[in-house]
Symmetry: C2
Subunit: 252 residues, 2 copies
């Protein structure tokens, strides 16, 4: 298949790389910045472009991996192409592409780093398409690059995106706050890394509610009040501590 990649960020890089690896032909990489386009284009043997007018009109697939608020203008530029146009956004409805002839969604439920290699075959891909025939085609396309393909409609995809904010973005921020606490006391974040790893491993085959530990779930008021006291100079950490402890008690 001839593929055009619109975007050059983390999602674009990993997706373009995954299709290239399966022997597909990356025609072009578009980015507003030609330098960014060139950087990714070089690695997948594509031509870098920075103008939407320069988009090849005869590709089989157009992967849109740009910021959510730029999807509409990219879709506008693709009106009339016969290739399958796919956006990759968790929080954008498929309806944003409805003026195109053949369209769908290919949302990777994963966090990507530009610098870090990753086994794309384990990345859950959530697919949705204009109609049943295109959905079948998209299922086979997604199945080429990943073992884990889910059919998910736009409403469910929004929920997945929201859940991912809790399970990834907020979780990473808690890692960050724990690192701050250690640094303020001349302790290395290395000390916590094995615990962070094990906490994630534990829920790979268990239900998180079942493995909840800590002072809040055992209603250990003494430890909770010691912790609140230790955070007296950081009221925003106290607020987080209290909000999450209250929520843990509510859930158990």
């Amino acid at each position: 298949m001839k593929i055009v990649c619109i975007g050059s960020g983390n999602v674009a890089s990993h997706m373009a790389g995954a299709f290239k690896l399966k022997g597909h032909d990356l025609l072009q990489v578009w980015s507003r910045s030609v330098a960014n386009a060139a950087e990714l284009a070089d690695t997948v043997g594509a031509s870098p472009i920075s103008s939407l007018e320069a988009l090849d009109r005869d590709a089989d697939i157009y992967l849109i991996a740009v910021k959510d608020d730029a999807i509409a203008s990219v879709a506008q530029a693709l009106i009339g192409v016969q290739g399958l146009v796919l956006h990759t956004s968790g929080s954008t409805s498929i309806a944003e592409l409805s003026r195109l002839d053949n369209y769908g969604v290919l949302y990777p439920l994963q966090t990507f780093s530009k610098t870090k290699a990753m086994d794309f075959e384990g990345v859950p891909l959530c697919i949705e398409a204009k109609d049943a025939a295109l959905l079948q085609r998209l299922k086979s396309i997604a199945g080429e690059v990943s073992r884990v393909v889910y059919e998910v409609d736009s409403e469910q995809r929004k929920v997945l995106h929201l859940a991912a904010v809790f399970a990834c973005n907020f979780v990473n921020h808690l890692y960050n706050l724990s690192e701050q606490l250690l640094m303020d006391n001349q302790l290395s974040f290395d000390m916590l890394r094995p615990l962070i790893m094990e906490t994630a491993i534990k829920v790979q085959d268990e239900n998180p509610a079942k493995v909840q530990t800590g002072p809040a779930v055992r209603d250990d008021k003494q430890t909770i009040s010691k912790h609140i006291e230790m955070l007296h100079s950081q009221p925003h950490l106290q607020e987080i501590y209290q909000t999450l402890s209250k929520s843990i008690k509510k859930s158990h």
Copy 2:
């Protein structure tokens, strides 16, 4: 060394197992419940006891792995023994053991499951002792069962314990909330597991602040308000979403 294990929970089980594996002699396992004592005692070839008066007075090491509020009464029962008495608690000062002759702390900074095997050699052990000579001895004892040994005083250990609440207990609760969101929409938690894993892997060699992603760090007000709206029927999730998003903005 002859070791007595006081407690039969997750920490006790993994520690007793680790010392047994290195060829040490587990004399006794104490638990208030003789059935619990017997269960662990059987796996390490020790005698189960359920009375503190039955404790062997001639062991080399006494590992105290009981609930924080039970440490004082166990310490009381051990007054007069010459062996090294170690508690394993993150939030308890070494001073709780000060009426003993030889004492210290061996705090494993890890989350344990009873059912799940674990490489104890990778568990960070935080040690503290009554005096410098005992600290050297404890360092060598800890080094037998783990590659990762840190000298940490009681104040620092309290900070580690607090940081672990953020990085483990609160993180697991966020996993739990994300699972609830999925279940409410007939979606499987399996879909999020690879993301959870990768989020933890990312910070194994990166600083969490550097890999923060999501709507809050890029100040994407539109997505944030969509998410808040999606949570309208769950005000406690709205509160968590807003508190953590505000904290992410504050940190970046």
